[in-house]
């Protein structure tokens, strides 16, 4: 029980409680900028406050929060997101008819996740001149399941592994922010059905999901129930399909693109430096 009752744990949970109360008391802030509205969400302040009070950033908080506290905090993330995911799931049942009606779109948009290859791969290879790091970095959104796949196939010490880890770490630090900013701005273009914007919120991690739906609900409040339900449904589809799309489509496709773009840098067929 040392993750709940030890001194290190109690200090951690009290700090989290303090952060959460401050973040939620501030609440949602809208910042209009010419082309749309930037939405600042309590989850952003909570994350930022967490970083500020992190003993790795602010030495003084190390007197209160230990290395062990930081470790326990890592284990708490996956547990603490569960009530949120459960609450999210409860929005699906009441909207089940709308979900079924949007079924084909819900299923097909999973293929749209390959859009990362269309956007990120050319940037990584042609614009930034990256090597095989580009494969790990651009084949998927690089959350935990995708990372595990790269680790299995290439090892994390490979260039592909370094690319995937880099995007994973960067996504962890700025993902919430990016997914809070993007949807309202894309919505402001007026090109897309709000249902399409909503069901695409389920493509990443739990915090990306929260940021994406939170900011979308803030700009289209009268569609709240529908937005949440579609996002929740697509999120669970991503859990179910994401790994397989990665194994059978995204990764082979990215590998092939890399061979075509960099014939000189083809890897020996046997996978020579696999570790």
């Amino acid at each position: 029980m040392n993750r709940v009752l030890s001194r290190d744990a109690l200090a951690l949970h009290l700090t989290a409680l303090l952060i959460v109360v401050i973040a939620d008391l501030i609440g949602l802030v809208r910042v209009p900028i010419g082309i749309g509205t930037v939405i600042l969400l309590p989850i952003l302040y909570a994350f930022a406050l967490g970083i500020l009070l992190n003993p790795n950033i602010w030495r003084a908080s190390g007197r209160f929060l230990t290395r062990r506290s930081v470790q326990i905090s890592g284990s708490m993330i996956t547990i603490a997101i569960m009530p949120f995911i459960a609450r999210f799931g409860t929005t699906v049942g009441p909207q089940i008819e709308a979900i079924v009606a949007a079924g084909p779109a819900l299923i097909l948009q999973e293929i749209g996740n390959l859009g990362t290859i269309a956007v990120a791969f050319p940037v990584a290879v042609f614009l930034l001149g990256m090597g095989r790091e580009a494969i790990g970095a651009s084949y998927s959104i690089d959350r935990e399941p995708n990372l595990a796949l790269i680790a299995e196939k290439y090892g994390l010490n490979s260039p592909e592994g370094a690319g995937a880890m880099g995007v994973y770490a960067t996504g962890t630090i700025i993902g919430t922010f990016v997914f809070a900013i993007m949807p309202p701005l894309i919505h402001a273009l007026g090109w897309f059905d709000v249902r399409a914007l909503a069901m695409s919120c389920g493509v990443g991690s739990g915090s990306m999901l929260a940021a994406c739906t939170g900011s979308l609900v803030a700009v289209v409040p009268d569609q709240e129930q529908l937005i949440l339900a579609l996002a929740a449904a697509s999120n669970i589809l991503t859990y179910a399909t994401g790994l397989y799309v990665g194994i059978f489509v995204a990764l082979p496709l990215t590998e092939w693109l890399y061979r075509v773009s960099r014939p000189a840098d083809a890897r020996p067929a046997a996978g020579g430096d696999r570790r």
């Binding site: 989850i43 967490g50 956007v119």
Partner: protein
């Protein structure tokens, strides 16, 4: 640039996040802490007193716990959160016993407020290693990461939008 040592750190991170070693009893206690903080978050965000939101939170706690159990028992590569999601969907489908009551009870809880605890822990959990990976990876990876997030999202939006136009 000390690449080899950065790589050693990479694999350590993945090891750190392997939580399979934590027992179910301890996970339940951790879940209880998360739910209590969630009640405080909801109170701060909406003004709904924790007592009024308690029945809804008890349901979310039960659904989360059931998800943890199923993930531990069922030999599928589905993460616990996927089970939690499935259970929550099933118990709120109209016609399921108690669906109306459950929908009403969890309605006392603001969905976004329930996400703040995980993000607070997320910020507190960042280790020296993660910062150093981000720094080692450099500015190119930051650009690629933004393209990855944008590409994944907009790709889904475009396909979903086209399909909705065709199917209505």
């Amino acid at each position: 640039m000390n690449r080899p040592s950065a790589h050693v750190q990479l694999s350590e991170i993945v090891k750190d996040e392997d939580d399979t070693s934590i027992g179910l009893v301890e996970k339940t206690a951790m879940l209880l802490v998360a739910c209590l903080i969630g009640l405080a978050a909801n109170w701060a965000a909406t003004g709904t007193a924790p007592l009024a939101a308690l029945p809804g939170m008890a349901i979310l706690f039960a659904a989360s716990l059931a998800g943890l159990l199923l993930a531990a028992i069922v030999p599928l590569r589905l993460p616990a959160v996927a089970w939690v999601s499935l259970i929550a969907i099933l118990i709120t489908i109209p016609g399921m016993p108690g669906a109306a009551f459950i929908t009403e009870a969890v309605g006392q809880l603001n969905f976004l407020a329930l996400a703040t605890p995980a993000l607070a822990y997320g910020g507190l959990a960042l280790t020296q290693k993660e910062f150093s990976i981000a720094r080692h990876s450099g500015w190119k990876i930051v650009i690629v990461a933004i393209c990855v997030m944008f590409g994944t999202y907009i790709g889904s939006v475009i396909i979903a939008d086209l399909t909705l136009r065709i199917t209505g």
